[in-house]
């Protein structure tokens, strides 16, 4: 596939070495790891190795703390529902307004089921108020679920500190870390984080495999009941090839960690500065000082994001947008709205997310193309006049 792929927070390409590691597990090594013969035994050993590779990446104390699942969403649901079932006396959940739908949609359903869910607000840079958080923590809190880094802006949350506060209140702490794992160093054994979700396809492993980290000693109830796989904590025959692939990808992410935080970050910064220097009325959303090294989310005022994406796509550039129109809903991204970004800008947000496969030439190409596209769409916009916003505000009906 030709083109410039700057949408790595959506999904990543599977590394060739990962594919290579996986291939034998479709053919020669097809055994069921539960079987009592050497077909199964070898596969069981491969899964054990993958478990240790993931343990290493997460800085987990024991390999038994790693539970393989089918995706990040399954890990999130397992974690939150487990905490509620294991502590029936506690009926409240604390999360943030900017979580991924994997958590937010589940929480909306929990509210219908009679649980109380508290949503922490965020400020203009996407940060939570720790005082508000402390006030909400009570002996009713079953679980706190806060993302490690936001998928749209890359902004970090102080999950290590928040986990300590949760523990002090006797509550469990879960973090959806699908965007952070592999991009920033994580050392779970030194934290009070009880549960963490990760997704394989965000770190160059295939889609359809994820992990739930479950700290030893944490009370747990499985989501899927059945066989004894994953020590009965996640029944269902293991997705062996993908698990092996995820192990390989985890090992490679460890090796590439420094590169992600130096070279990928440098390219991201160059892209961002290059675009902002050439496009007026554009700004970075989220917290530029504390975010993922690969993510850059820019709001282009007075134009709409889907239109930007369609034109970028024409140039072979892949990115994503928080506009209403890309999702089919009538509202722009809940993350942008939560940060108080005005509608005229929220609809025009574009997320560029890089990976270690991107090159300097690609960054230069995008910097060259974006200003043209923005100018072309602003020429069509009723809010824009020549070089800036219209002096007499355009005020359509039912605004």
């Amino acid at each position: 596939m030709e083109g410039i792929y700057f949408d790595n927070n959506a999904t990543t390409r599977v590394d060739e070495k990962v594919v290579e590691a996986m291939l034998p597990y479709f053919t020669e090594q097809f055994g069921n790891p539960s079987s009592m013969h050497s077909f199964g035994n070898k596969v069981g050993l491969a899964i054990k190795k993958a478990r240790m590779q993931v343990q290493e990446l997460l800085g987990a104390e024991h390999d038994s703390e790693i539970i393989f699942t089918s995706c990040g969403t399954e890990s999130d649901s397992t974690a939150i529902l487990s905490a509620l079932r294991a502590q029936p006396e506690r009926k409240e959940v604390i999360t943030t307004v900017v979580e991924h739908p994997a958590v937010l949609t589940l929480c909306a359903w929990l509210e219908k089921e009679g649980y109380k869910v508290h949503y922490l607000k965020v400020d203009g840079k996407g940060r939570v108020d720790m005082d508000e958080y402390k006030k909400l923590l009570t002996d009713q809190t079953a679980i706190v679920s806060v993302m490690w880094a936001n998928n749209e802006t890359g902004t970090f949350f102080p999950v290590v500190q928040m986990a300590e506060l949760a523990h002090a209140a006797g509550a469990m702490f879960h973090t959806d870390a699908v965007q952070a794992v592999g991009k920033v160093p994580i050392d779970l054994k030194s934290t009070k984080i009880d549960m963490l979700s990760l997704s394989g396809h965000k770190l160059h492993a295939p889609k359809g495999v994820g992990v739930l980290y479950l700290k030893r000693g944490t009370r747990f109830r499985p989501l899927l009941r059945g066989g004894h796989q994953e020590r009965g904590r996640r029944a269902g025959t293991e997705n062996t090839a993908s698990i092996v692939g995820l192990g390989q990808a985890a090992e490679m992410a460890m090796e590439a960690m420094a590169f992600e935080n130096s070279e990928v970050k440098r390219l991201r910064d160059k892209l961002e500065a290059g675009i902002l220097a050439k496009v007026p009325r554009a700004f970075v959303t989220g917290n530029p000082d504390d975010r993922l090294p690969n993510t850059c989310n820019i709001a282009f005022e007075f134009i709409e994001g889907e239109a930007i994406l369609l034109l970028l796509n024409k140039f072979g550039i892949a990115a994503s947008s928080g506009s209403a129109c890309t999702s089919g809903s009538l509202e722009p991204s809940h993350v942008m709205r939560a940060m108080g970004i005005p509608y005229t800008a929220a609809h025009g947000t574009v997320r560029f997310s890089l990976s270690r496969y991107n090159t300097e030439a690609e960054v230069d190409r995008v910097i060259a193309v974006v200003p043209e596209i923005i100018a072309q769409l602003r020429k069509l916009s009723p809010y824009w006049d020549g070089d800036g916003p219209k002096a007499d505000a355009f005020a359509p009906t039912y605004a």
Partner: protein
């Protein structure tokens, strides 16, 4: 990624009549910035003939909003105002070889901009009767407002009934939860609670099955003399929930008017039973098959 038609893409990448029209004498501004769509339509009307000589647009919006605006200007140029006002949003969508259901509101916005621009030219006040809710059923493009109003107007209480009236929920089933939420809300207004298990089969009159069948027999009996006058007859074969299987016999079988006759009988049955039923003509021998299929 949206499945846009080639025509939509073409009108997005090369929009016709984009920009401002300096000597416009009618301007319509519509849209909602919160929804991410806003459109200014400018028209130049010849006062002598009431013909639209030129039209331009400026649009804040997605690919299909820009394409719909472009299509709109192409459609109305050269039309008289009265002709132009007859343009519907479906005409705009058709011009573009269709729009995805989630994007139909872009064509609605085009039609409204046109009404607003014409009203502005004529010096009239224009107010939109626009009420668009969240899209619930994506298969048949039915929004929340439509569902809510239909539930109210017809006293509906089950998802199945909503599907029968609006088509919403009749496709992939993913919106059944959404329809239930609306039912809960509207039923609460009339002091009822939503019963997810409530089967539409339950006769509202509270009749037992036997009573229902007797009633159906009675209705058919009252119609029979008319059928016999024409040399035909009708036979009740089975009642399965809301479906009533009958056999048309004698001169009625295969009669060109059969469908019309059955429609009349169905209407009469609904009035008598006070519930919605469906009458299905079946051959007498096919009965066991028809009623035993799971």
């Amino acid at each position: 990624m949206w499945d846009y038609s080639e025509k939509v893409k073409e009108h997005f990448f090369q929009p016709r009549n984009a920009g401002t029209l300096d000597d416009a004498n009618g301007v319509g501004d519509v849209g909602s910035i919160s929804c991410g769509d806003a459109l200014r339509l400018m028209i130049k009307v010849d006062p002598a003939t009431d013909t639209i000589l030129d039209a331009r647009f400026q649009t804040f919006g997605c690919g299909s909003a820009i394409a719909s605006s472009s299509a709109l200007t192409e459609i109305v140029k050269g039309k008289t105002l009265d002709e132009a006002l007859k343009v519907t949003n479906q005409d705009i969508a058709d011009y573009l070889d269709g729009l995805p259901p989630e994007k139909m509101h872009c064509s609605v916005m085009g039609r409204e901009a046109l009404q607003a621009a014409v009203a502005n030219y004529r010096g009239e006040e224009w107010s939109d009767d626009h009420e668009e809710g969240q899209l619930i059923c994506k298969c048949f493009a039915v929004d929340a407002v439509m569902i809510e109003e239909t539930i109210r107007a017809n006293n509906l209480s089950t998802v199945q009934e909503v599907t029968n009236y609006t088509k919403a929920g009749g496709g992939c089933s993913s919106c059944h939860e959404g329809i239930e939420e609306i039912l809960v809300k509207v039923l609460a207004e009339r002091g009822e609670s939503f019963k997810p298990g409530a089967l539409p089969e339950a006769a509202p009159s509270g009749m037992t099955n036997l009573q229902r069948i007797k009633k159906i027999e009675a209705v058919l009996e009252s119609i029979r003399p008319q059928l016999k006058r024409d040399g035909g007859d009708i036979e009740l074969l089975d009642v399965d929930g809301k479906t009533i299987y009958v056999a048309m016999t004698g001169a009625c079988a295969g009669c060109q008017m059969e469908a019309l006759t059955l429609q009349g009988i169905q209407q009469k049955l609904m009035e008598e039973l006070k519930e919605f039923i469906k009458i299905v003509p079946t051959k007498a021998g096919a009965l066991s098959r028809a009623s035993c299929q799971p």
